[in-house]
Amino acid sequence: MRSVMRPRHSVLGVVLALACGCSRGPDTASAPFTPQSDTEVLEQVPARATDARARERAALRQELDAQPRQLELAVRLARLELKEGRARGDPRHLGWAQAALSPWWDEPQPPHEVLLLRATLRQSRHEFDAALADLDAALREDPRDAQAWLTRAVVLGVRGRHAEAEKSCAPLDTLAGALTATVCRAQVDSVAGHSGRAYARLSEAMSRRGALGSPEEQAWALSTLGEAAARSGDTRRAELLYAQALAADPDDAYTRAALADLLLDLNRPAEASRLMKDHATDDGHLLRRVLAETALGSAEAATLTTELASRYAASRLRGDTLHGREEARFALHVEKDANKALTLAQANWEVQREPWDVRILMESALAAGTPDAAKPALTYLEAIACEDPGLLALATRLKKAAP
């Protein structure tokens, strides 16, 4: 099909097609070309010569290729790939981590470390029940595994099973220290609509105990605290805490996205866009940038919108439905299609129950003029006795809008 259009038609063809009110044929977005020069850079890849982490992973992979059943090597490589995936927002690293674990991947009872990593990878693909099964198995084997308890708390929190999540934080007091346990509880409290309480308890614990160990852990605590501040309406403090978290760990894509969301809510899109600008390979960051540029009404908005829409289309093509929350925001604020946003938000609601999932369902229902569609969210907020002012304000608007 590709050689149908002989080139001489192209420019004038568009002009006349427009004049005739006819549109032109298939898109040529991925038309192949031969680069002009050998020095043209086509893609950024892990730098094996200059990046020590990339070199280490490459060396490990080579070793592992020679002896694939070396558990210790495999676990080390899988952890490094996970870490890289977190920093770059590129899920290829998760696939590469899984490949390292492949000799044990399909076993019903793989080694303990593999269970834990498999749970994390499964969770990243929203296979929450399978992830929980792995974590439960890991904890049956070793009830003193702090990592398994913590990951379990997070998964349960995402699913809206807050009481169980809270219970999963308890063993951390003795296994990992009081502060880690407090961060765990604060995270659960914060997604459960009690961000004020989460903030008070965590800030008190942090001032009493001082900083946690590694930069990543500091960033984790600061980011959790910042998120609680944002949800409880203290946006100035949230901004400060997010900035501190990013200073402690500049690779923390999660916090960077949270800060961008905060700036968007504060109607400061120019700053949000600047923050996201250098991270366009990350779909989540690109979404925030598109939202910001759309709010600014800039010339770039259209190009970025097209790019993000085609990434979502590519994900759907491979059968992924992992972007429900983000796609709903895209549909609502960029495509201005409230009905589409509502459909996406409803499907997402079946999978995830974090504050953003509640919020996007309520916002879409409001915009679509069908407040009844947000009923599950309202029931949920009542059931968890939510105290977050932002969510409660939305709920009030919905109740007023309902006939």
């Binding site: 590709r2 050689s3 149908v4 001489r8 038609h9 420019v11 004038l12 063809g13 006349l16 097609a17 005739c20 006819c22 044929g25 298939p26 977005a29 991925s30 038309a31 192949p32 031969t34 050998d38 020095t39 043209e40 850079v41 086509l42 893609e43 890849v45 094996r48 010569a49 200059t50 990046d51 490459a58 977190r86 927002g89 899920p91 290829r92 998760l94 696939g95 590469w96 899984q98 490949a99 991947w105 990243s124 702090a146 990592q147 998964v155 990992a176 220290g177 590694s214 990543e216 852990e217 960033a219 984790w220 980011s223 990350d282 779909d283 989540g284 990434r311 093509l317 491979r318 059968g319």
Partner: protein, 374 residues
């Protein structure tokens, strides 16, 4: 232990932030098997083959080009194309190219799969990258029918049988109709020719030899339908002759003659000389344009079977495309027909412009040079 805690906790939320690894494989039926285009992400190829030879993290075209043979060998070895009991060996065709997808640059491999017999079912076994990335997916399209959906192949589901018989005559017919519509809309020379014939259709000759507006819409519409249909019938005729291999004309000659036909049609609007029926002109020159369409059909790859549906579908598509343009053009032209601006600027000016463009084409095609911006 503690050091690792925060890392895993935060991971799930950001892990979704990017598109995982996919490759895009498109297969089309060809006279002796299939032609394929396979787009594979350069990031994936680098992970498997280590393309970034200087290790600086910036993958340059030179580094890719140097490894072209390795890439082609590796990628093609990960696909087996076959029909019931008979493999269709793949061979690369042409040099490696590059395409930009929404998530980065991809290597584009063109290849052929030569089948010993005409396949009635296609068996694919796709094993690219699964050993390196179990989350990799092969996104596969087998063209030839519009109803044919996209196949997604994964590590656990990597072989598939595509029943080619499912490409029913009807879906094939539908595909050809679309091809015809696409072609008439993208094929500027045919459209300009038609436009040159249509411009005067809301006018008639005055006794003094100039133009004056027609009184009613009906006769203008009849006139237009006659012209368009005559054009279609004529080009269907020659297109079929050419496609069946009964007549073959050199394409440069045909393309040049088409340009001449556009010039003549335009000139006749400015200096009315051919009296009588424009549908006859449309028929005569339509014979010529049919040979032009034939080269397009050859590009699309004619199937050995179902030639009649192919031709009919393509012709119906061309006719529909033309009628759609007429439906937009005629009411507007009819409303404007009384205005002097229609007779002066649009009829004379437009025709002159069409004639000029066609002159450049004629020069390009006859002399085989390129003048108009591409």
């Amino acid at each position: 232990m503690n050091r690792f805690l925060a890392l895993l906790v935060l991971l799930p939320c950001v892990a979704l932030a990017h598109k995982p690894s996919d490759s895009y494989l498109r297969l089309e039926r060809a006279p002796h098997g299939f032609t394929g285009r396979w787009d594979v992400a350069l990031r994936d190829l680098d992970a498997v083959l280590g393309l970034d030879s200087n290790g600086d993290g910036a993958l340059a075209w030179g580094e890719v080009r140097d490894r072209q043979q390795d890439i082609t060998r590796h990628v093609l070895s990960r696909l087996s194309v076959g029909t019931a009991g008979a493999p269709c060996p793949t061979t690369p065709e042409g040099a490696l190219r590059v395409a930009r997808h929404s998530d980065g640059a991809y290597a584009v491999l063109d290849f052929q799969a030569a089948c010993p017999t005409w396949p009635s079912a296609l068996t694919l076994d796709y094993t690219l990258l699964f050993d390196r990335d179990p989350q990799h997916r092969g996104i596969i399209q087998v063209a030839g029918g519009q109803g044919q959906g996209t196949l997604v192949l994964s590590a656990s589901h990597h072989t598939v049988d595509v029943p080619l018989a499912n490409l029913s005559a009807w879906s094939h017919f539908g595909g050809m109709v679309l091809s015809g519509i696409e072609h008439i809309w993208a094929g500027l020379d045919h459209l300009l020719f038609l436009l040159a014939l249509l411009l005067p259709s809301v006018l008639k000759r005055s006794p003094e030899g100039g133009w004056e507006p027609v009184d009613r819409f009906g006769p203008a519409l009849r006139d237009v339908v006659k012209i368009v249909s005559a054009f279609t019938v004529a080009h269907s005729l020659t297109l079929s002759l050419a496609a069946l291999g009964l007549v073959a004309l050199p394409s440069r000659l045909v393309e040049s003659a088409i340009a001449v036909s556009v010039i003549l049609a335009a000139a006749n609007n400015v200096f009315p000389s051919i009296r009588g029926t424009r549908w006859a002109v449309a028929f005569a020159l339509g014979l010529l344009h049919g040979f032009g369409f034939a080269s397009v059909l050859a590009d699309l790859g004619l199937p050995a079977e179902g030639l009649a549906t192919t031709l009919l579908g393509f012709n119906v598509g061309v006719e529909l495309g033309q009628l759609a343009c007429v439906a937009v053009f005629l009411p507007v032209a009819f409303m404007l027909r009384g205005a002097t601006v229609y007779r002066r600027a649009i009829l004379v000016g437009g025709s002159a412009a069409i004639g000029l463009i066609a002159c450049v084409w004629l020069a390009e095609r006859a002399l085989d040079v390129s003048v108009l911006p591409l």
